[in-house]
């Protein structure tokens, strides 16, 4: 809202400097955007919050200043000898008011009161269109409004004065002298004064005659009924429109005007006639002519102001400070309320321009902001309360620490992705992704079902920047559709590395071990066959049928199609499942006081035998003295072992909690392991 400092002085005489006043405004609700000098006049840009439609005109801003500085507010008087009642009494015969009444020249019919609850019209005849006086035009110019002619300028001036948008029609262009407020026809064409054509719909309100739409109600006038140099008779509209209807229209047509801006914020419903008369007064002064008596008003019933009760005790209860009761009452009165006060409570009748004051808390806010928030102390008591870190935060500290220690850097990526083959990677669900109507970024309107697509995109970005050996991780929700039920938001850890998948697997093993400890549930390991991973490279872990984590190498096809350099190991871990079994505190497991015996075993097996099979065989056959099976390495010696064979080196840790083991006891364990491996996996033991 642009305010001319010079214009403002019409209503309030401020002694304070611009800087001081601007500061007071800012601290009482009118944010200062900027101050500029235009044609020698200071013009102040104030940000008006959406609840304060009363501040969308100079009078409203002046009122705020008057309240803050306890100064009188001088409102312009409208001194036209017309009857303010819509009922056409005998006109007062005093020029420039005509003996003719408005009802004799015009009819108004409101077919759309849902969008236009009140429509009023006055008529002026015999005006002479010409330029406005320079002082008047300059006021408009300084606040960025281009002067047009003495009629249009008057409507704009009054809007910028009291916030009520007005519209002037050329009466000769109103067919059959009949104004019809109606819904637009479907796909009705309308040419606005901006010379552009708009296609309307039946939710929009138009001001029409018997033939065409003359104006898009509350938004913009039409080109056909525009006031031109040849206009002689005028129709001045002052109406109220429903905020939601105007907002929808302006938004849909991308047509935002000073008028729609105000109607969207609900202007003073009782201020229509004042604005209308004020406008007529300027026109009569600058353009001559005569005003027909009376006005047409589609909704003349007076509006009852709401009575709002304020209890004295509530002020300090909310604010934490005492505001003297007399001062509270004074603030409300200065703001325009009628106050009936008692010792412990009061009733305030809010003025019509303050439609936002309907509840006790609204009055308390007014008292607080005018009294000044600087009066509220910033060292009040804040009692202590028990509070602890959540298990989730403890887990996340562990998870992030392990990721960082393993060389992975954290990234954050948008939750919505596109529709490329990479974006279709979906290891957690077969359901289609959830989508949004409005894309988050260009082409990104699908909610992620996996973190991997974003991580691959991140890898490619780094590759394009020649950043080598990139390891990245992200922890974020993935969104899994559940049919008609609420979508599942699953908190995942995902990572990508320029390495073999064992690196990722190791990270997950460490996370699970540390978060669960030795008390945690036993996971079922399964080879999986995801189409986006290399066949045979991928593995997953399950708990009671639910996948907890998976790891693999991105498929050759995707690597080649996306021109990714180097190996791509990826994996995801469901942190919600990880958290579900997290231990709160590690608990000591007693150490055996007896020494362990370590036995290295070197098996020759077929290439197809996997470590998991060997480990399972050992775990089944070794007995409880075998505390640990440690993988050492795999190597191949085809000269000695032949093609298709590999050597698997491992160590058994054999230990008892109750005695020092003898070598023979360890030998027994080794013997049963060796024979089980031979029988089940065809493993041959090499002499060490």
């Amino acid at each position: 809202m642009l305010i001319s400092w010079e214009w403002l002085a019409d209503y309030v005489k401020l002694d304070a400097s611009i800087e001081q006043v601007v500061e007071r405004w800012a601290l009482s609700g009118l944010n200062h955007e900027s101050t500029q000098w235009v044609e020698g006049v200071p013009v102040i840009d104030l940000e008006v919050t959406s609840n304060r439609a009363d501040c969308l005109g100079h009078i409203g801003i002046a009122r705020e200043a008057a309240v803050l500085y306890s100064l009188p507010l001088k409102l312009p008087s409208v001194d036209l000898p017309v009857s303010k009642q819509p009922v056409s009494k005998q006109p007062v015969s005093k020029q420039p008011v005509s003996k003719q009444t408005v009802r004799e020249v015009l009819e108004v019919e409101n077919l759309f009161p849902e969008a236009c609850p009140r429509y009023t019209v006055r008529v002026l005849r015999g005006v002479k269109i010409g330029p406005s006086p320079e002082w008047f035009a300059k006021r408009l110019r300084t606040i960025g409004i281009r002067p047009i002619n003495n009629v249009v300028d008057a409507t704009n001036y009054v809007m910028m004065e009291c916030g009520q948008p007005l519209h002037a029609f050329d009466l000769d262009r109103v067919a059959s002298r009949r104004i019809i407020v109606r819904p637009a026809a479907d796909k009705e064409n309308f040419q606005a004064i901006d010379h552009r054509n708009y296609v309307l719909d039946p939710q929009m309100v138009v001001i029409a005659d018997t033939k065409n739409a003359l104006a898009l109600g509350g938004v913009m006038g039409g080109l056909d009924s525009e006031v031109t140099e040849s206009t002689v008779d005028l129709l001045i509209e002052a109406a109220s429109f429903e905020p939601m209807s105007i907002r929808r229209t302006a938004r849909k047509l991308k047509l935002h005007s000073a008028s729609s801006h105000r109607f969207e914020r609900r202007i003073d419903p009782d201020g229509l006639d004042f604005a209308s008369l004020r406008c007529c007064q300027w026109i009569l002064q600058f353009a001559g002519g005569e005003l027909l008596d009376g006005l047409i008003d589609t909704h003349p019933e007076p509006r009852l102001p709401s009575r709002v009760e304020l209890r004295r005790s509530r002020v300090s209860r909310v604010l934490g400070i005492e505001v003297p009761w007399a001062q509270s009452q004074d603030i409300l009165r200065r703001l325009g309320c009628t106050v009936e006060s008692q010792e412990e409570s009061l009733v305030a009748l809010a003025p019509s321009f303050r439609q936002d004051l309907t509840r006790e808390i609204d009055l308390i806010e007014e008292i607080a902001r005018v009294h000044g928030y600087e009066a509220i102390p910033e060292d009040a008591m804040v009692p202590m309360v028990a509070s602890a870190r959540r298990p989730k935060d403890t887990m996340m500290f562990t998870v992030r620490s392990i990721a960082c220690a393993s060389g992975f850097s954290e990234t954050l990526n948008p939750s919505l992705i596109g529709k490329t083959p990479i974006d279709r990677i979906s290891p957690w669900t077969n359901q289609d992704p959830l989508g949004t109507f409005v894309p988050l970024l260009e082409g990104a309107s699908n909610l992620r079902r996996s973190l991997i697509p974003s991580l691959i995109a991140a890898r490619l970005h780094n590759q394009s920047q020649s950043n080598r050996d990139v390891r990245l991780f992200e922890t974020a929700n993935v969104y899994l559709s559940q049919g008609d039920a609420l979508p599942k938001e699953q908190y995942n850890f995902g990572c990508i590395a320029e390495s073999e998948p064992r690196v990722v697997r190791g990270v997950f093993e460490e996370m699970i071990d540390r978060v669960w400890g030795h008390e945690g549930p036993v996971l079922e390991e399964r080879l999986v066959d995801f189409d986006f991973l290399d066949k045979g490279s991928s593995i997953a872990w399950f708990l009671q049928g639910s996948m907890v984590a998976w790891v693999g190498s991105l498929s050759r096809a995707l690597v080649q199609a996306n021109k990714i350099d180097g190996p791509v190991a990826v994996g995801e871990l469901d942190l919600d499942l990880l958290l579900a079994s997290a231990r709160s505190v590690p608990k000591l497991r007693a150490l055996s006081p007896y020494p362990a015996i370590l036995r290295d075993l070197n098996f020759v097996v077929d290439e197809s035998v996997r470590w998991g099979q060997i480990r399972a065989t050992i775990e089944q056959s070794a007995g409880e003295l075998c505390k640990e099976v440690v993988f050492r390495e795999i190597y191949r010696d085809t000269k000695r072992d032949g093609e298709g064979k590999k050597r698997v080196l491992l160590t058994l840790k054999i230990q008892s909690d109750s005695e020092t083991l003898k070598g023979e006891q360890a030998d027994t364990v080794v013997t049963s392991v060796v024979s089980a491996c031979a029988a089940q996996q065809g493993a041959k033991l090499l002499a060490s």
């Binding site: 304060r52 604010l319 202590m384 990234t411």
Partner: protein, 352 residues
């Protein structure tokens, strides 16, 4: 070999070496003597050390002890001679040598994203003030995102184009028409604020409560240096029997002082939010200027009523702030889009 024989050999070697080294008169001669006695391949000490293997087990400790004394004696005499002749140090035997000026072998460590660092920082400070971390879903219904927060159907914040409504086959037409409540399927949207969590917490948890909620929020916006359609918010809520605006101001001052590490002042400017009243913008005074912190206010009685809390008995305040702005100011980041580009040259700068 007998022990006494070995000891005699040692003693005579020490005597001879000392005699020679006391009289040596050139660096070259000294180097010859060094090689003769302490050379790594065939020096006299090396030969004697080999004889040590032949000593009987019980005599070994005594022999070894004497050997060490003799070796030290010879090395001391070498050092004295070197000092007398001004020869700097005695050259080590030939072989690959360690270069201590080489760069260290550094562990390859990852880094935590600056936004995560900021979120953890906020959690830590607010945790000390007694605010527990809570969470809620990112996909919300209009009740939690709007209705319960006192944002009525006709409020501009509910405009379909200002939110990320989920597209479902059945719901599409009514949502685009702006009427979300009558659609066949309940409308869903990505939350536009973390205030939704307030509602979920007040609906389910016993009072009093002091919570914060942090997380991703979504609002359509063309990305530029200061805008991104996805960002993070922290929302705080304190509901108790006698919570006042003075406590709001005090908690925010404690927060700002903790965050900035110096005593700071707080300023309230009146503002308007549907879910709080009175509503204020909060600034803090830092480095000679007022800096915008976020929005705050007393929980609107309509919000309390929506979740079945009696506003006559309970009062509360709420505040919210954008994490990106705090994070960018703290780390000197000038373009919000850099936070979401995953460039490791960017990410690695925030290692702590």
């Amino acid at each position: 070999m007998a022990l006494d024989q070995f000891l005699t050999a040692l003693d005579s070697m020490l005597g001879e070496a000392r005699a020679c080294l006391e009289t040596v008169d050139s660096a070259e001669a000294l180097e010859q003597l060094r090689v003769k006695y302490t050379g790594a391949k065939s020096g006299a000490l090396k030969s004697v050390q080999k004889m040590l293997a032949g000593i009987e087990g019980k005599d070994k400790p005594a022999a070894g002890k004497r050997f060490n004394e003799v070796r030290d004696g010879i090395e001391e005499a070498l050092a004295q001679a070197a000092q007398r002749l001004g020869v700097s140090g005695v050259q080590e035997s030939i072989g690959p040598s360690f270069d201590p000026t080489l760069p260290g072998l550094r562990p390859n460590l990852g880094t935590i994203h600056p936004i995560t660092q900021s979120l953890e920082h906020l959690k830590e400070i607010m945790g000390r003030l007694g605010f527990n971390v809570t969470e809620g879903p990112e996909i919300e219904d209009p009740w939690h995102n709007f209705v319960a927060l006192n944002i009525p159907e006709d409020h501009p914040a509910r405009d379909p184009l200002d939110n990320f409504y989920l597209a479902t086959a059945k719901a599409s037409a009514p949502i685009l028409a702006g009427r979300t409540t009558q659609s066949a399927q309940p409308a869903r949207l990505l939350r536009s604020q973390t205030s939704t969590v307030q509602i979920r917490v007040m609906e389910t948890q016993p009072l009093p409560l002091r919570i914060i909620s942090l997380g991703r929020v979504y609002r359509p916006d063309a990305p530029d240096a200061t805008h991104f359609p996805m960002f993070h918010q922290m929302e705080g809520l304190w509901v108790d029997r006698n919570v006042t605006m003075a406590q709001l101001k005090s908690v925010l001052r404690l927060f700002a002082t903790s965050y900035l590490g110096g005593d700071v002042n707080i300023r309230f400017r009146p503002s308007f939010f549907p879910f709080t009243e009175p509503s204020v913008e909060v600034d803090y005074w830092w480095n000679g200027q007022w800096i915008e912190f976020g929005g705050a206010g007393m929980v609107d009685p309509n919000v309390f009523q929506a979740v079945g809390i009696d506003p006559e008995v309970w009062s509360g305040f709420a505040f919210g702030l954008g994490v990106e702005r705090l994070c960018m100011r703290r780390f000197g980041i000038t373009d919000i889009r850099d936070l979401y580009r995953s460039d490791v040259r960017f990410l690695r700068q925030f290692a702590t």
